[in-house]
């Protein structure tokens, strides 16, 4: 047997495999000023970025863990054991042929180059800390669309980058946004010029390969006036015994009349702590829509938000969370209304299987002086087993007259009778379960782009197969 095949562990889970890689750039374990300087050196950061990182580190060390309201599980993260920066020491390539063989194989197994050929306008593939591949279709690039990694973005386009970077989500927003600010690497920088409508989605794929690793990508998307863009991200990691940390920061800026749609289908292995801060800023008549599908991970804490800063701006969060045995999906949405005639819509569906726990946490804020603002919130939970758990914590503050808010919540359970009924028609228990779950999310999934709804359906089937006898 060749050594290169020996290092591969294959499980039936799509993302559960990893290759042995030589990392030329390794910041070692633990986090200190030295770590931050190491990253800044390797990445050849401008001074302002190095200072930004150091401020992030200081804030991170000062802030307590948010365990008072969420989950004690966060306390089990050992920040001294984590590796904060790992890269093979090559730059992002423009074509797959130049990507190092082992890394290319990883993405081929995940089907990324194939999807790129089929339906994407551009792809960025991140492997641990750095992008290894980044390419945009020629026609899209010629329209002036910029789609590069964050490192390249801040160096080549400082005039746009610096204006918005860290403005939607300040360093001190929370402990993990501070951590990301200190050690961020990778993620995408996108700029869409005025009036340009990018027809096909731009995609980023985030792959964790190394054990005890922390991935801290930083994404900034700016849609200039009247432009439109859809961004999709996927992510996987192999299943390790030790904890892996994924802590991204994503900032979206939709200028006047622009539309941004941001789609996430995560499929983390069950050792990943996924603590992500995502927020968009919508100017006049702009629209920001988050489609967020959370499958896998040990603990996910993620509440995509929209700050509705401009008159008549719209914000939307459509989310699906699937909490399997031993997993906790603590997800939701934040809608901050800050102008008249703003509307927001939140639809959240969660599924809890076995001992899985799904928590919906929502924040809707409409201050007193605003007029004609609307919010609609729906959250539905589906419980598969008697041991499954769901909690809902909606925090809705709507003041003033002439603002409308609507909130609906439901909890349902897949009953034994329902499963028996389906089994009597010839479906196995797992097929019956996955059909029920797909039915539960069906009206939401219909709003997703075709390719992603197919992917999601497949992931749900895999999860249900694994959870039944």
């Amino acid at each position: 047997m060749k050594p290169e095949t020996k290092a591969v562990d294959i499980d039936r889970n799509v993302g559960d495999f990893h290759y042995k890689i030589d990392y030329a750039r390794d910041a070692g374990r633990g986090l200190s000023e030295k770590t931050v300087h190491f990253i800044s050196e390797v990445k050849e950061d401008p001074d302002w970025v190095r200072e930004f990182r150091l401020r992030g580190l200081k804030t991170f060390l000062e802030k307590p863990l948010p365990t008072h309201w969420a989950s004690k599980d966060l306390e089990t993260i050992d920040f001294d054991k984590i590796r904060y920066y790992l890269a093979p020491g090559t730059t992002a390539k423009r074509n797959w042929e130049e990507v190092p063989e082992d890394i290319k194989r990883t993405f081929e197994r995940l089907g990324i180059p194939e999807q790129e050929r089929k339906f994407l306008a551009g792809v960025e593939a991140q492997f641990d800390s750095e992008a290894v591949y980044s390419n945009i279709k020629k026609a899209v690039g010629e329209q002036g669309v910029i789609f590069v990694g964050s490192t390249e973005g801040l160096k080549k386009h400082p005039e746009i980058f610096r204006k918005w970077f860290g403005k939607v989500i300040p360093i001190g927003d929370n402990k993990f946004s501070a951590l990301n600010s200190a050690v961020f690497s990778g993620g995408s920088f996108i700029y869409v010029p005025p009036g340009v409508k990018v027809k096909h989605p731009l995609q980023a794929y985030f792959r964790i390969n190394a054990e005890s690793f922390g991935q801290f990508e930083r994404t900034l998307i700016i849609a200039d006036e009247g432009s439109e863009v859809t961004y999709m991200e996927g992510c996987t990691a192999p299943k390790f015994e030790t904890a892996t940390l994924h802590s991204a920061v994503v900032e979206l800026v939709a200028l006047k009349g622009a539309k941004i749609q941001y789609i996430t289908v995560q499929n983390w292995s069950s050792n990943v702590f996924n603590l992500v801060t995502k927020r968009g800023l919508a100017h006049d008549d702009a629209e920001i829509k988050w489609i967020d599908c959370n499958i896998g991970s040990r603990l996910t804490m993620k509440y995509p938000g929209v700050v509705l800063k401009g008159r008549k701006s719209r914000g939307e969060v459509l989310s699906i969370a699937l909490a399997n045995n031993g997993q906790h999906q603590d997800t939701g949405a934040k809608m901050i209304h800050a102008a008249d005639e703003t509307t927001s819509n939140i639809i959240s569906k969660s599924i809890s299987i076995g001992t899985g726990r799904a928590t919906y946490r929502g924040l809707v804020h409409v201050p007193k002086h605003l007029k004609n603002c609307k919010n609609n919130t729906e959250c539905d939970a589906l419980l598969i087993n008697a041991t499954s758990r769901t909690d809902t914590y909606p925090a809705i503050t709507v003041r003033g007259t002439g603002n409308a808010v609507q909130h609906e919540a439901s909890v349902s359970q897949v009953s034994a009778e329902q499963i028996f009924y389906m089994q009597q028609r010839g479906l196995t228990e797992a097929q019956a379960m996955s059909l029920s779950v797909n039915g539960f999310v069906n009206d939401l999934v219909r709003q997703f782009p075709m390719e992603y709804s197919v992917e999601l359906k497949r992931l749900i089937e895999l999860e249900m197969e694994g959870s039944v006898g």
């Binding site: 059909l435 797909n438 539960f440």
Partner: protein, 255 residues
């Protein structure tokens, strides 16, 4: 031997004995009706034969064409050719009738083989037409918000699409007005033939005016106390279940 066969079946749920030594054989091509008062164990029999996990078979055998099916899961029995039309069909929110039946048919194909979509829809529309169902029905979620009649009609549609060897119809007439009853009966009659054995469970004789059985069995207190031809149903209608109880002897008195 080709038949759906129940031998000396004893069934409990919890510590309650419901079926107490029941035997029955339904060969393909025949319609057998089981009549009985409430609580006689008719629906339990239907569920046990179909493999409902809540019931415990303490004694006896159930075979299909000679094969013991007691050790099989409900879905395996179904794929082998057993169908149960439920008295209270479950709702499956978000799953359309078209998708549900497609999944059920797909489950019967060997691995790697895909159901041919155009043939499937052609067959589905044909059966729906025969049952007087509008095509728009296919995009409605299974049984969700259906009237009693729509639910029962959907059960018969599934029967027609899945083409089992043996079908148990559990109180298919309950909750139906006379027009709906006629439609459902017509659907069942259309499927009668040498390839299908039917076990018809009913409380009332009324259904048997429309689906005329070859044999009638009277079930009281977990056992069959009397069997005969179709005229037995009429006799029962005239004399009432007390007559059947009396003839069943003292063990029925407690019921």
């Amino acid at each position: 031997m080709n038949e759906l066969r129940v031998d000396n079946l004893h069934v409990t749920i919890g510590d309650q004995q419901i079926v107490r030594g029941l035997s029955l054989a339904v060969p393909p091509g025949e319609v057998h009706a089981i009549m009985g008062p409430n609580g006689s164990g008719k629906s339990t029999l239907a569920k046990v034969v179909a493999g409902h996990p809540d019931y415990h078979v303490t004694k006896g055998k159930i075979t299909m064409d000679g094969a013991d099916i007691l050790g099989m899961e409900a879905d395996e029995r179904a794929r082998k050719g057993l169908f149960l039309a439920f008295q209270y069909p479950s709702e499956i929110p978000g799953v359309t009738i078209a998708n549900f039946l497609r999944a059920a048919l797909q489950a019967r194909l060997p691995e790697g083989e895909e159901l041919e979509a155009t043939d499937y829809y052609a067959k589905l529309y044909e059966k729906m037409e025969l049952l007087g169902m509008d095509r728009s029905f296919t995009s409605r979620s299974v049984n969700e918000g259906f009237s009693g009649g729509e639910k029962k009609r959907t059960e018969i549609l599934q029967l027609a699409m899945l083409q089992p060897k043996y079908a148990i119809l559990d109180e298919t007439d309950s909750g139906l007005d006379i027009d709906a009853l006629k439609v459902v009966a017509r659907g069942v009659n259309m499927m009668r033939g040498p390839g299908l054995g039917i076990l018809l469970i009913t409380h009332y004789q009324r259904l048997l005016n429309y689906i005329v059985p070859d044999h009638v069995h009277v079930m009281v207190a977990g056992r069959i106390v009397r069997s005969g031809g179709k005229e037995l149903a009429l006799e029962l209608e005239e004399r009432g279940y007390d007559w059947a109880r009396e003839s069943a002897g003292e063990m029925a008195v407690t019921r």
